[in-house]
Amino acid sequence: MQFTEWIGDARNIVFLVVAALMTGMAMVVVTTRNVVRAVLALALTLAGSAVLFLMLGAEFVAWTVILVSIGAVVVLFLFGIMITRAPTGRDPAGLDHARRWPAALVALAVFAVTAWASVVAFGDAPIAEGVVRAGRLGELLLTRYVVPFEVVSFVLLAALIGGIVLARKDQGP
Protein backbone atom coordinates (compact mmCIF):
# COMPACT_ATOMS: atom_id res chain seq x y z
CA MET A 1 0.00 0.00 0.00
CA GLN A 2 1.31 3.43 -0.91
CA PHE A 3 1.88 5.92 1.86
CA THR A 4 -0.20 8.59 0.10
CA GLU A 5 -3.08 6.15 -0.12
CA TRP A 6 -2.64 5.22 3.51
CA ILE A 7 -2.53 8.80 4.75
CA GLY A 8 -5.56 9.67 2.61
CA ASP A 9 -7.77 7.88 5.11
CA ALA A 10 -8.84 10.30 7.82
CA ARG A 11 -8.76 7.59 10.48
CA ASN A 12 -5.07 7.06 9.83
CA ILE A 13 -4.38 10.74 10.48
CA VAL A 14 -6.21 10.41 13.81
CA PHE A 15 -4.16 7.29 14.47
CA LEU A 16 -0.91 9.13 13.74
CA VAL A 17 -1.79 12.00 16.07
CA VAL A 18 -2.80 9.64 18.90
CA ALA A 19 0.27 7.45 18.34
CA ALA A 20 2.59 10.46 18.46
CA LEU A 21 0.93 11.65 21.67
CA MET A 22 1.18 8.20 23.26
CA THR A 23 4.82 7.76 22.29
CA GLY A 24 5.80 11.18 23.58
CA MET A 25 3.98 10.69 26.86
CA ALA A 26 5.49 7.21 27.29
CA MET A 27 8.94 8.73 26.83
CA VAL A 28 8.06 11.27 29.51
CA VAL A 29 7.03 8.42 31.83
CA VAL A 30 10.40 6.71 31.58
CA THR A 31 12.70 9.74 31.43
CA THR A 32 11.28 12.56 33.53
CA ARG A 33 12.88 13.47 36.83
CA ASN A 34 9.58 14.50 38.36
CA VAL A 35 7.64 11.52 39.68
CA VAL A 36 4.21 13.14 39.73
CA ARG A 37 4.71 14.25 36.14
CA ALA A 38 5.50 10.64 35.22
CA VAL A 39 2.18 9.48 36.68
CA LEU A 40 0.23 12.17 34.83
CA ALA A 41 2.00 11.26 31.59
CA LEU A 42 0.99 7.64 32.17
CA ALA A 43 -2.62 8.80 32.52
CA LEU A 44 -2.38 10.54 29.14
CA THR A 45 -0.84 7.45 27.55
CA LEU A 46 -3.73 5.35 28.83
CA ALA A 47 -6.21 7.90 27.51
CA GLY A 48 -4.56 7.56 24.09
CA SER A 49 -4.98 3.80 24.26
CA ALA A 50 -8.67 4.34 25.07
CA VAL A 51 -9.00 6.41 21.89
CA LEU A 52 -7.39 3.59 19.93
CA PHE A 53 -9.86 1.11 21.44
CA LEU A 54 -12.74 3.32 20.31
CA MET A 55 -11.26 3.39 16.80
CA LEU A 56 -11.09 -0.41 16.86
CA GLY A 57 -14.72 -0.77 17.89
CA ALA A 58 -14.03 -1.86 21.45
CA GLU A 59 -16.32 0.50 23.33
CA PHE A 60 -16.55 -1.31 26.62
CA VAL A 61 -12.79 -1.86 26.86
CA ALA A 62 -12.21 1.84 26.20
CA TRP A 63 -14.51 2.95 29.01
CA THR A 64 -13.07 0.30 31.31
CA VAL A 65 -9.57 1.65 30.69
CA ILE A 66 -10.75 5.14 31.51
CA LEU A 67 -12.59 4.05 34.66
CA VAL A 68 -10.17 1.52 36.07
CA SER A 69 -6.74 2.53 34.81
CA ILE A 70 -7.02 6.30 34.73
CA GLY A 71 -9.52 6.56 37.53
CA ALA A 72 -8.23 4.08 40.07
CA VAL A 73 -4.70 2.98 39.21
CA VAL A 74 -3.32 6.47 38.65
CA VAL A 75 -4.79 7.69 41.93
CA LEU A 76 -3.30 4.65 43.65
CA PHE A 77 0.09 5.56 42.21
CA LEU A 78 -0.22 9.13 43.44
CA PHE A 79 -0.97 7.83 46.93
CA GLY A 80 2.00 5.48 46.71
CA ILE A 81 4.29 8.35 45.76
CA MET A 82 3.04 10.53 48.56
CA ILE A 83 3.42 7.80 51.15
CA THR A 84 6.82 6.47 50.11
CA ARG A 85 8.16 10.00 49.76
CA ALA A 86 9.60 9.20 46.37
CA PRO A 87 11.60 12.27 45.45
CA THR A 88 9.05 14.58 43.89
CA GLY A 89 11.33 17.56 43.50
CA ARG A 90 13.14 18.53 40.40
CA ASP A 91 16.53 17.30 41.22
CA PRO A 92 16.92 13.96 42.45
CA ALA A 93 19.85 12.10 41.13
CA GLY A 94 18.76 8.74 42.46
CA LEU A 95 15.82 8.13 40.17
CA ASP A 96 17.69 6.34 37.39
CA HIS A 97 20.50 3.85 37.28
CA ALA A 98 23.85 5.21 36.22
CA ARG A 99 24.15 2.98 33.16
CA ARG A 100 21.21 3.69 30.87
CA TRP A 101 22.79 2.70 27.57
CA PRO A 102 22.51 -1.08 28.02
CA ALA A 103 18.84 -0.62 28.92
CA ALA A 104 18.25 1.52 25.83
CA LEU A 105 20.03 -1.07 23.70
CA VAL A 106 17.84 -3.89 25.04
CA ALA A 107 14.69 -1.84 24.48
CA LEU A 108 15.74 -1.02 20.94
CA ALA A 109 16.40 -4.70 20.23
CA VAL A 110 12.98 -5.67 21.60
CA PHE A 111 11.32 -3.05 19.43
CA ALA A 112 13.24 -4.06 16.30
CA VAL A 113 12.39 -7.75 16.65
CA THR A 114 8.70 -7.34 17.51
CA ALA A 115 8.02 -4.62 14.93
CA TRP A 116 9.83 -6.57 12.23
CA ALA A 117 7.95 -9.75 13.11
CA SER A 118 4.54 -8.07 13.04
CA VAL A 119 5.20 -6.27 9.77
CA VAL A 120 6.45 -9.46 8.13
CA ALA A 121 3.57 -11.52 9.48
CA PHE A 122 0.70 -9.18 8.66
CA GLY A 123 1.90 -6.97 5.82
CA ASP A 124 -0.91 -4.55 5.09
CA ALA A 125 -3.82 -6.75 6.08
CA PRO A 126 -6.75 -4.43 6.78
CA ILE A 127 -8.78 -4.35 9.96
CA ALA A 128 -12.40 -5.27 9.44
CA GLU A 129 -15.08 -2.85 10.58
CA GLY A 130 -17.37 -3.82 13.37
CA VAL A 131 -18.30 -2.74 16.88
CA VAL A 132 -18.67 -5.19 19.76
CA ARG A 133 -21.38 -3.79 21.97
CA ALA A 134 -21.19 -3.91 25.74
CA GLY A 135 -24.25 -6.13 25.92
CA ARG A 136 -22.64 -8.73 23.69
CA LEU A 137 -19.51 -8.64 25.81
CA GLY A 138 -21.56 -9.12 28.97
CA GLU A 139 -23.36 -12.12 27.49
CA LEU A 140 -20.04 -13.67 26.53
CA LEU A 141 -18.54 -13.02 29.96
CA LEU A 142 -21.41 -14.76 31.72
CA THR A 143 -21.72 -17.72 29.34
CA ARG A 144 -18.62 -18.79 27.50
CA TYR A 145 -16.07 -17.06 29.73
CA VAL A 146 -17.84 -17.51 33.05
CA VAL A 147 -15.13 -19.62 34.68
CA PRO A 148 -12.22 -17.24 33.90
CA PHE A 149 -14.49 -14.37 34.93
CA GLU A 150 -15.09 -15.87 38.37
CA VAL A 151 -11.41 -16.77 38.74
CA VAL A 152 -10.28 -13.25 37.92
CA SER A 153 -12.77 -11.77 40.37
CA PHE A 154 -11.37 -14.07 43.03
CA VAL A 155 -7.85 -12.95 42.13
CA LEU A 156 -8.93 -9.33 42.54
CA LEU A 157 -10.50 -10.08 45.93
CA ALA A 158 -7.36 -11.88 47.11
CA ALA A 159 -5.19 -9.00 45.91
CA LEU A 160 -7.30 -6.41 47.72
CA ILE A 161 -7.26 -8.38 50.99
CA GLY A 162 -3.52 -8.96 50.57
CA GLY A 163 -2.93 -5.27 49.98
CA ILE A 164 -4.81 -4.34 53.13
CA VAL A 165 -3.01 -6.97 55.20
CA LEU A 166 0.40 -5.92 53.91
CA ALA A 167 -0.09 -2.20 54.26
CA ARG A 168 -1.75 -1.91 57.66
CA LYS A 169 0.26 -1.20 60.73
CA ASP A 170 0.94 -4.19 62.92
CA GLN A 171 -1.09 -4.11 66.07
CA GLY A 172 0.04 -7.44 67.45
CA PRO A 173 1.71 -8.00 70.80
Binding site: V35, V65, F77, A103, A107, T114, A115, V152, G162
Partner: protein
Protein backbone atom coordinates in the same frame (compact mmCIF):
# COMPACT_ATOMS: atom_id res chain seq x y z
CA UNK B 1 -6.31 1.00 8.92
CA UNK B 2 -4.00 -1.99 8.87
CA UNK B 3 -3.22 -4.38 11.70
CA UNK B 4 0.50 -3.80 11.45
CA UNK B 5 0.30 -0.13 12.38
CA UNK B 6 -1.32 -0.97 15.70
CA UNK B 7 1.11 -3.80 16.33
CA UNK B 8 4.12 -1.56 15.64
CA UNK B 9 2.74 1.07 18.01
CA UNK B 10 2.27 -1.65 20.62
CA UNK B 11 5.84 -2.80 20.11
CA UNK B 12 7.10 0.77 20.49
CA UNK B 13 5.20 1.33 23.75
CA UNK B 14 6.28 -2.06 25.06
CA UNK B 15 9.96 -1.39 24.38
CA UNK B 16 9.70 2.04 26.05
CA UNK B 17 8.28 0.19 29.07
CA UNK B 18 11.18 -2.29 28.95
CA UNK B 19 13.60 0.63 29.00
CA UNK B 20 11.81 2.09 32.00
CA UNK B 21 11.89 -1.17 33.94
CA UNK B 22 15.60 -1.57 33.29
CA UNK B 23 16.70 2.03 33.79
CA UNK B 24 14.62 3.22 36.73
CA UNK B 25 15.80 2.81 40.30
CA UNK B 26 12.73 3.86 42.23
CA UNK B 27 10.31 0.96 42.72
CA UNK B 28 7.21 3.09 42.11
CA UNK B 29 8.61 4.15 38.75
CA UNK B 30 9.37 0.53 37.87
CA UNK B 31 5.70 -0.27 38.55
CA UNK B 32 4.70 2.65 36.31
CA UNK B 33 6.79 1.23 33.48
CA UNK B 34 5.18 -2.18 33.95
CA UNK B 35 1.80 -0.48 33.62
CA UNK B 36 3.01 1.01 30.34
CA UNK B 37 3.94 -2.45 29.04
CA UNK B 38 0.51 -3.79 29.99
CA UNK B 39 -1.17 -0.95 28.10
CA UNK B 40 0.90 -1.85 25.03
CA UNK B 41 -0.21 -5.47 25.30
CA UNK B 42 -3.83 -4.33 25.51
CA UNK B 43 -3.47 -2.35 22.28
CA UNK B 44 -2.08 -5.47 20.61
CA UNK B 45 -4.85 -7.72 21.92
CA UNK B 46 -7.69 -5.45 20.83
CA UNK B 47 -6.13 -4.83 17.41
CA UNK B 48 -5.72 -8.54 16.78
CA UNK B 49 -9.26 -9.17 18.00
CA UNK B 50 -10.59 -6.60 15.52
CA UNK B 51 -8.51 -8.25 12.79
CA UNK B 52 -9.74 -11.76 13.51
CA UNK B 53 -13.43 -10.83 14.03
CA UNK B 54 -14.08 -14.10 15.81
CA UNK B 55 -17.58 -14.44 17.15
CA UNK B 56 -16.50 -14.65 20.77
CA UNK B 57 -14.59 -11.35 21.02
CA UNK B 58 -11.56 -13.09 22.49
CA UNK B 59 -9.24 -10.11 22.09
CA UNK B 60 -11.44 -7.72 24.02
CA UNK B 61 -12.20 -10.24 26.76
CA UNK B 62 -8.49 -10.87 27.21
CA UNK B 63 -7.86 -7.13 27.34
CA UNK B 64 -10.45 -6.85 30.11
CA UNK B 65 -8.72 -9.62 32.06
CA UNK B 66 -5.36 -7.91 31.59
CA UNK B 67 -6.81 -4.66 32.96
CA UNK B 68 -8.17 -6.50 36.00
CA UNK B 69 -4.91 -8.29 36.71
CA UNK B 70 -3.02 -5.01 36.25
CA UNK B 71 -5.20 -3.36 38.88
CA UNK B 72 -4.58 -6.25 41.28
CA UNK B 73 -0.85 -6.10 40.56
CA UNK B 74 -0.67 -2.38 41.29
CA UNK B 75 -2.51 -2.83 44.59
CA UNK B 76 -0.24 -5.61 45.79
CA UNK B 77 2.91 -4.04 44.35
CA UNK B 78 2.36 -0.69 46.00
CA UNK B 79 1.59 -2.38 49.32
CA UNK B 80 4.88 -4.29 49.09
CA UNK B 81 6.80 -1.13 48.16
CA UNK B 82 5.17 0.64 51.10
CA UNK B 83 6.19 -2.14 53.46
CA UNK B 84 9.76 -2.17 52.18
CA UNK B 85 9.95 1.59 52.51
CA UNK B 86 8.69 1.37 56.07
CA UNK B 87 11.25 -1.26 57.00
CA UNK B 88 14.29 -0.01 55.13
CA UNK B 89 13.59 3.70 54.56
CA UNK B 90 14.32 3.32 50.86
CA UNK B 91 12.37 2.25 47.81
CA UNK B 92 15.29 1.83 45.42
CA UNK B 93 15.36 -1.53 43.70
CA UNK B 94 19.17 -1.78 43.71
CA UNK B 95 19.29 -1.55 47.49
CA UNK B 96 16.92 -4.49 47.96
CA UNK B 97 19.41 -7.32 48.33
CA UNK B 98 17.63 -9.24 51.09
CA UNK B 99 17.18 -12.30 48.90
CA UNK B 100 20.60 -12.22 47.31
CA UNK B 101 22.61 -15.22 48.35
Amino acid sequence: MTVAQFLVLGALLFSIGVYGVLARRNAVLVLLSIELMLAAVNVNLVALGAYLQDGVAAGQIFALFVITVAAAEVGIGLAIVLLIFRNRASANVDELDLMRW
